[in-house]
Amino acid sequence: MPQDRDIMSSLFWALVGVLFCIGGTNYGLRRSGIPGPGFLPFVTGLILVAFSLILLISRLLKREDAAGSVREPMPSGEALRRILKALGALCLYVLILEPLGFMLTTFLFMVLVLRLEPRRWTFILPAAIGTTAFFFLLFKVLLRVPLPPGILGY
């Protein structure tokens, strides 16, 4: 139901707008007669809330406009599981990069993402090791990007 998606998303953006409005009020809307640091977040937050409400109301009245109906379908079943797993792998990367270090994290990430579709371990392990080594050479050796060493020391 595309209508429902618009309702959910407009409520989300309205909430974002409200939070910035509250923040803006705390930072001060005016200082000695001229706009203060909270002025722009407050006004823009209000505008975002207003637009979100317009979207919400027009969808509640089911006045779907032709241009707005171009949307991709939401994935379901197997595809949705793949997306969630990939997102999980990304979040995991953020969490373990500093404690475990670049090498181990990248290796684990590659294994997780390569396993999104059923594949043999005889493919996954060499591919994950190979790509990790490639990135190590590229970023650490060639470009000298400082990367967290973690427990392995690399």
Binding site: G33, I34, P37, L48, E72, I83, V94, F109, V145, P146
Partner: protein
Amino acid sequence: MDFFAHLQMAFTIAFEPMNLLMCFIGVLCGTLVGVLPGLGPSTTIALLLPVTFSLSAVQSFIMLAGIFYGALYGGSTTSILVNIPGEASSVMTAIDGYQMAKKGRAGPALGISAFGSFIGGTFAIILIMLLAPPLARMALKFAFPEKAALIFFGFTMVTYLSGGSLIKSLMMAAAGVLLSCVGTDLITATQRFTFGLLELTDGIGIVPVVMGLFGIPEILSNLEKPSREVQVFETKTSQLLPSKQDWKESSGPIARGSILGFIVGLFPGAGGVLPSFFSYALERRLSKHPERFGKGEIAGVAGPETANNAGGQAAFIPLLTLGLPCTPALAVLMGALMIHGLTPGPLLMRENPQLFWGAIGSMYVGNAMLVLLNLPLIGLWVKILRIPYYLLSPLILVICLIGAYSLNNSTVELMIMVLCGIVGYLMNKYGYPAAPLVLALVLGPMFEESLRQSLIMSKGSLGIFFTRPISAVLVIISLALLVSPLIFRKQERPKGGESA
């Protein structure tokens, strides 16, 4: 004459060995990302931005700009050979280009799009040289109210042209301005929305946001489909040159595409999609055989490809003279210049002529390199397409992750990127365009400064934007654009993709 003095200066700088090398690396990377679906120019420029910290401003601008226009070339190759537009800007090329390839005429299609791109691009660069100096001189007179009005006009154009629902584009522009408020307030030095995080005092970086909003969603939506083999037409380089007949049929579309693409490309938000879209529509209307379009008509390849490159180059004019980036990729490019301590705008040409004219010179050189690179190397690009996507997508993700981390060596940037990735994926699904958000995020701080300084000048009255002629015109046009959909029922607009 000024023109030739500038031209000489441009070429002198562009032909310095280091600059030539950077230009080459840039257009090579650009072609590569143009070929690869799932990695757009804006993500790539964002990725390579940390690498440019060790380069000079001129070198990094030459390289990053090369990625931008190189991608316009690369996109056509995959459109023609496999019917997969590497970039949104090549969607129109795929229609007739792929049909030509099916008929065994892939060579001339690739050839004419390379030559058309070269002609369109070069035409646009010449016009940049002629038009940029007077425009910059005019823009020098802009004070805070004019700047605020100009940025407001830019926001409006981008939301208006970014495709999809207008109200959603507007919401995204507002969200971008809100995100740009995070960090230290420029006027009072108040810490806003930083939650005590040191990493946020400089504001939310454009790089993790762009990688999150453009890079990650593209990969995720490719993961939805099970991986499949790519069908590629075999082409020999010897057949690449278009015949006399091909040239005869293409010369009109190329000439019109150059002019049309240039004009359309000047508008913020038009990006790479609209010039080729308009050119295709124009050529079909003017053609004596409109029924042949969609079945492999060479005019349907030559026109849009030329327009797409002319438009891409033209988009540098608002960036270099007014400080107004027209597309997300150029917004990242602007971010790169600001990291090097330069503000794109009317002062750039006067204070950094080296950078300005060097960039222009490198565009001539880069366009020539692209023709030479593209035609003989088509075999290589096609081989790269054969890398299975299930291997490519985790590689791109790791490059994004490392790129985001290396900005500040902090996981805060990583979190921003992953969060933007999730939001960006949902935005795609729910029909919210990302381009207005990115542009508003980049222009937000300048908008806020000029808006608040204007209101300080006027002691808080909004009337200042209407009493000064230039700002009044810009604000009134913007408001008219925003109100017009309420009055006229809109036709369906072309759906903007990632856009160059």
